[in-house]
């Protein structure tokens, strides 16, 4: 049904490209017809009933059985539901915190959305704290909302953090490369030195190592390997392993 899309997997697409989903020509009367579904990830939008429109420029990727998306590079983050981000608390007003996530507007975080928080037992959150939270509401019509607790009520690593580390920002492409299932960058960093890393999908990274110099080394490495090819990056990591430490 979507053979036109399948042909283009791995090729570069430009905004404005259209795809038409074909209806199968031969309908079998004996078997019940099961229409195949298509799941469009970021970069592809539905236009009308059976047409697709490409809205971002990049390479078309495919995952079995029927997921398609466009992989592109950008620095600007657009909030999406279910993504975990690093936010900075800016305003503490009554029951709600305002959090800066790098999007077009600030997200709201309720004080009850922390693990073990009740009306009497408020979480210890101050203005300027770093929080690792996930979006519960994020669309173009409403103000984004964050929660620091998952659907079962457990924190699961989310919440306030950040004593003694460094926050810096990178492009979204590097974030994706770090969070992939078998990430080369992450395995290189693992061999280098003991450190702690928090990756926010809004392009923000927080790193902490045992001394200030090591923390700076880690942050510089990550920021510079953004635009490097894999051999260059491995050479850089080797130099850092020999030299700085």
């Amino acid at each position: 049904m979507f053979s036109g899309l399948r042909e283009k997997v791995g090729q570069v697409l430009v905004p404005g490209d259209e795809f038409c989903l074909e209806i199968p020509e031969t309908l079998s009367l004996s078997e019940p017809m099961k229409p195949e579904k298509v799941l469009l990830g970021p970069g592809l939008k539905r236009k009308g009933d059976r047409k697709l429109l490409v809205v971002k420029s990049g390479v078309l990727r495919h995952k079995q059985p029927h997921v398609f998306w466009v992989e592109n590079q950008q620095r600007r983050y657009v909030p999406a539901r279910g993504e975990t981000v690093i936010g900075i608390i800016t305003v503490k007003s009554g029951d709600v915190f305002k959090v800066d996530v790098g999007g077009s507007e600030q997200a709201s975080l309720s004080y009850l959305a922390f693990e073990g928080a009740t009306k009497r037992n408020r979480p210890n959150v101050q203005v300027g704290d770093l929080v690792f939270a996930q979006f519960s509401v994020a669309n173009q019509h409403m103000e984004p909302e964050l929660v620091c607790v998952d659907s079962a009520g457990r924190a699961n690593g989310m919440g306030v953090f950040g004593a003694g580390g460094l926050l810096f920002s990178v492009s979204l492409g590097l974030i994706r490369r770090l969070l992939r299932p078998r990430s080369d960058v992450l395995s290189d960093l693992q061999k280098l030195l003991p450190c702690e890393l928090v990756v926010g999908m809004n392009g923000r990274l927080w790193a902490r190592a045992s001394s200030v110099q090591q923390t700076l080394v880690v942050s510089n490495l990550l920021q510079s390997c953004d635009t490097m090819s894999p051999p260059q990056r491995q050479q850089l990591f080797r130099r850092a392993a020999q030299g700085a430490l």
Partner: protein, 150 residues
């Protein structure tokens, strides 16, 4: 008798319908059912399924690329984070294999545990058995009456 003089309710009564054809009876029944069912709200599933769009949109990359969770700790820097990462269930087969390998590198392997448990069960049982049971366990001779030797 003409139809206009009789009311609809009267015409709907059973004794008035005995004389009608089967077809007109069915039509009247359908009309009644339609009046009742118009007031009830229901989901027309086959129609909805036919109209359901085949194209679904998803805004987030997390499910597309199977991205991992965002907290990492390397070489034991933050034990809480490492514990949390281990507690979360891993779905990929490769991760399962890696877990098996890492299990082998722990202090005690499975074989050693099995050997230890074999001896452990016996010793624990002895600890909680009483004196009577102890003697009866050790001595396994069939008791026969012995004549007193004069």
């Amino acid at each position: 008798m003409s139809d206009s003089k009789l009311s609809k309710n009267l015409l709907r009564m059973k004794f008035m319908q005995r004389g009608l054809d089967a077809e007109t009876k069915k039509q009247l029944e359908e009309d009644e059912r339609r009046i009742i069912s118009d007031e009830h709200w229901y989901l027309d599933l086959p129609e909805l399924r036919a109209r359901e769009n085949l194209i679904l949109e998803e805004r987030s990359l997390v499910s597309c690329e199977d991205l991992k969770y965002g907290r990492f700790s390397f070489q034991g820097f933050n034990p809480e984070v490492e514990l949390m990462v281990m507690m979360n269930p891993k779905e990929e087969e490769e991760d399962k294999q890696e877990e098996e390998v890492s299990c082998m590198q722990l202090d005690v392997t499975d074989e050693e545990m099995a050997l230890r448990y074999e001896s452990l069960v016996g010793s624990m049982r002895k600890k909680f058995s009483r004196k009577r049971d102890q003697t009866s366990e050790d001595v396994d001779i069939k008791r026969v009456f012995l004549k007193p030797q004069d």
